[in-house]
Symmetry: C2
Subunit: 231 residues, 2 copies
DNA sequence: ATCCTTTCTCGTCTTGCTGACGATAACCAC
DNA sequence: GTGGTTATCGTCAGCAAGACGAGAAAGGAT
């Protein structure tokens, strides 16, 4: 084994949330070269005795300060171009995390310079390494997964209204959805949401029923993005 | 960089094809420990100056003896449990390849003990390492991708009939599809297939029109698997 | 040559989902 | 109360999909 070339292996996180009707991503500002003072995805090296999902979950808690079992975490893809890190041969396994809007501001161990940025303003930001590519892949994955899975609920607190869920879709897809058709669709898809038996209080307008995430892992039939002229 | 733990990085391939109405996978029989004499996914180490997709394409041509630009190759996922290889810490990036039934029998450089096995008979085969998990993930990916992409054409030669395309779906999904509805669906989905202007000869029954793959990357609306009781 | 079998290809009908939108219910502020 | 706002239900037309009929075009058997 020792005769084979040694690689460094890292995990990087695309952590998304919806706050104030904007899709936001957790980024850290690099304090050391290369790419000093540039924004980058949070991440770090995988321990020698550590499994990849464990490393991703560890980095997520370190950066957000949130005990992990909330939201959603999945592997996104692996990026290993020989030139992607000027320091040497680093292969990174990217993970995608979807979290509810955390009342806890970012204040984890390692989160000195971490902050939420609206993804709409990251385009100019010139992320470090190949992180702009990873971010683009993560966004497309998230947008696609909202279509055929109930993962929009991962952006929500445990109990939420149909309207809240709709704003998630509208924010991630950057489009408007008809409230009445959306309501019909969500409540008629088996296993998507389950009534929590309670209603909202204090908001404007008629109180809304609260729902919890249902047991379904896939949506049948799927939600469809508007502007279906993708062929 | 040198203070970080060194990993070995490999690529492993889930290579699928449809031959004789069976979904088959390319496997190699291991000649050395660990897992000696067990079937395993083809694969190998990533060169120090080699990008991951290049390594996957290289392994594919080595194992199949086919110049690569046919079929389809995509990253499947990365597997890096600390215990997955008894020789040390090996992280493997798995790729999924979909190929037409190759008239060239397996006779590549490295393909001494390579062979096509029907996936239905691999369940008992006790693959080496965690390759059974990787295979299961690859199968599920392939089945899902047939729904919303035109990738079934990757299993076909450049020109094919609608009936041939239907047998691909039936084989991969292990279900039966109505020939008339399938024909209507495929020909009415924009960009899925384009007429080649020629017809088959010599087969039984009425000659069929030949088609080529169209420019679409996504199917709208998607093909739907039968038995839609997945909620 | 004629019939029969096989396979391809075009229609028809019904059912269910979707988008557009009207209407009502239930809260808050004044 | 009145008006504004939001939630929820209902209606209707259009499209897509499943079930199936029927004709077209070949090969094989007699």
């Amino acid at each position: 084994m020792a005769e084979y070339p040694p690689f460094a292996v890292t995990v990087d996180l695309v952590v998304l949330t919806v706050r104030a009707d904007e899709l936001c991503i957790l980024l850290v500002r690099r304090g050391v070269p290369p790419y000093q003072d540039r924004w980058a995805l949070p991440g770090g090296f995988v321990g020698f005795d550590e499994d990849l999902p464990d490393a991703a979950a560890r980095e997520l808690t370190e950066e957000t300060g949130v005990p992990e079992p909330i939201g959603h975490l999945e592997q996104l893809g692996t990026y290993g171009s020989p030139k992607r890190d000027p320091r040497g041969r680093v292969v990174t396994v990217a993970y995608l995390a979807l979290l509810p809007d955390l009342p806890t501001p970012v204040a984890g161990t390692d989160a000195a310079a971490a902050d939420w940025l609206p993804v709409s303003r990251v385009a100019d930001a010139q992320l470090a390494f190949d992180h702009d590519v990873i971010l683009a892949d993560g966004l497309e994955r998230a947008r696609a997964k909202l279509e055929y899975t109930p993962l929009a609920t991962a952006f929500c607190p445990p109990e939420f209204t149909i309207a809240r869920l709709r704003t998630i879709y509208e924010t991630v897809w950057n489009s408007r959805l008809d409230p009445r058709n959306f309501h019909r669709k969500v409540t008629s898809t088996p296993g998507f949401v389950e009534p929590a038996g309670r209603v909202t209080e204090g908001d404007r307008g008629r109180p809304a029923q609260l729902f919890r995430r249902g047991p379904a892992e896939l949506l049948h039939p799927p939600m469809l993005r508007p502007s279906v002229t993708r062929g």
